[in-house]
């Protein structure tokens, strides 16, 4: 749905741009292509890493690691698994819901989801390309710690 809106928006703006200035529009498309091609090697590598990781770390394995009463160890594992995996949200939320049903704690799930979304070890090389090493590592480390803060608050509110 959102992708469709994105496409419509891009098409309408591209048309407006073309009607106003053909040369500028051509330049915009060239820039679009150039910036895409610029990150293509990293993109392709990330896609393969995600593929291998998802094949090795099945939902079953993940469930074994952070399910049940795993306590702090489970939370740390959840945070690490969340940081290195790149599961799209529409897979992660049903997975999280299933883990909850099979006995995982809210805190483990909260830390897993937050780390999953905010921390990206696999995409770090790409992030470094845009923000430099220090900023990228700092942002990811802070997000990692922040995942625990979220988990603790969720544990208090929902526990």
């Amino acid at each position: 749905m959102f992708t469709i809106i994105l496409y419509v928006l891009a098409a309408v703006l591209l048309l407006l741009s073309f009607l106003k200035d053909k040369k500028k529009t051509k330049m915009a498309l060239m820039k679009a292509w150039k910036s895409f091609e610029n990150i293509l090697p990293q993109f392709l590598s990330i896609l393969i890493i995600i593929g291998i990781m998802l094949a090795v770390l099945s939902p079953n394995t993940i469930s074994r690691l952070i399910g049940q009463q795993s306590g702090w160890i489970g939370m740390v594992i959840a945070a690490i698994v969340g940081s290195v995996t790149l599961i799209p949200g529409f897979v992660a939320f049903p997975l999280a819901a299933a883990l909850l049903k099979s006995g995982a704690g809210f805190m483990q799930i909260a830390v897993f989801i937050s780390a999953l979304m905010m921390v990206g070890i696999v995409t770090l090389p790409l992030e470094i390309k845009y923000f430099g090493k220090k900023a990228a590592i700092l942002r990811n480390s802070l997000a990692f710690m922040f995942s625990f803060v979220i988990a603790i608050v969720i544990g208090v509110v929902l526990g």
Binding site: I5, A28, S35, I48, I150, V153, L158
Partner: protein
């Protein structure tokens, strides 16, 4: 040709590893291949409009406008705009980095761009609806409410921890990306 090979070196190594997996552990290798393929298709379906918008943004929006909206002196407007841009977005986090690059190139404040990245990663509106249906309102709302100050704090600390020289270098890099 040699330059091209060098750029794609890491990708080629990974592709060979994956093919090796297919031979040694056929079930894992095949799952991995099909995951990679479906992820590639997904990426290719999300990416084109994002990069077209990015190109248009670069050509049409003047640096002065961006500096006013999201630059050093943009204050709350810049912060709000960064949150809104990130939250309204669709697509995986890695699609946000090129946009962040253009925002930097156009003169946005670094902390605002970091807020944009933070919002893109966790307070995405389409994802929130999905989260609610899977985890319930209480879980989603609690996370959302803590996320907002958290994202701002992470952005603020990251900006503060960098020296002026390092920040300057980030802006220099952004200029050479596109």
């Amino acid at each position: 040709m040699k330059k091209l090979l060098n750029r794609y070196k890491f990708f080629i190594i990974l592709a060979v590893i994956n093919l090796g997996l297919v031979i040694i552990y056929p079930s894992i290798g095949k799952t991995s291949l099909s995951m990679t393929w479906s992820n590639t298709l997904e990426m290719l379906s999300v990416i084109p409009p994002i990069f077209i918008l990015l190109g248009l943004l670069d050509v049409w929006v003047q640096r002065e406008t961006m500096i006013k909206l999201m630059g050093e002196k943009s204050g709350m407007i810049g912060v709000t705009l960064a949150f809104f841009l990130g939250s309204a977005a669709a697509g995986p986090l890695y699609a946000a980095f090129p946009i962040a690059g253009v925002l930097l190139k156009k003169g946005s404040k670094l902390s605002n761009v970091l807020i944009f990245i933070g919002a893109w990663s966790t307070t995405k509106i389409p994802m929130l609806l999905f989260e609610t249906s899977a985890m319930g309102w209480k879980f989603m709302l609690t996370r959302f409410i803590i996320d907002i100050p958290g994202i701002a704090l992470i952005a603020y600390i990251t900006q503060k921890a960098l020296s002026e020289k390092e920040i300057k270098h980030i802006f220099e890099m952004a200029k050479s990306q596109i």
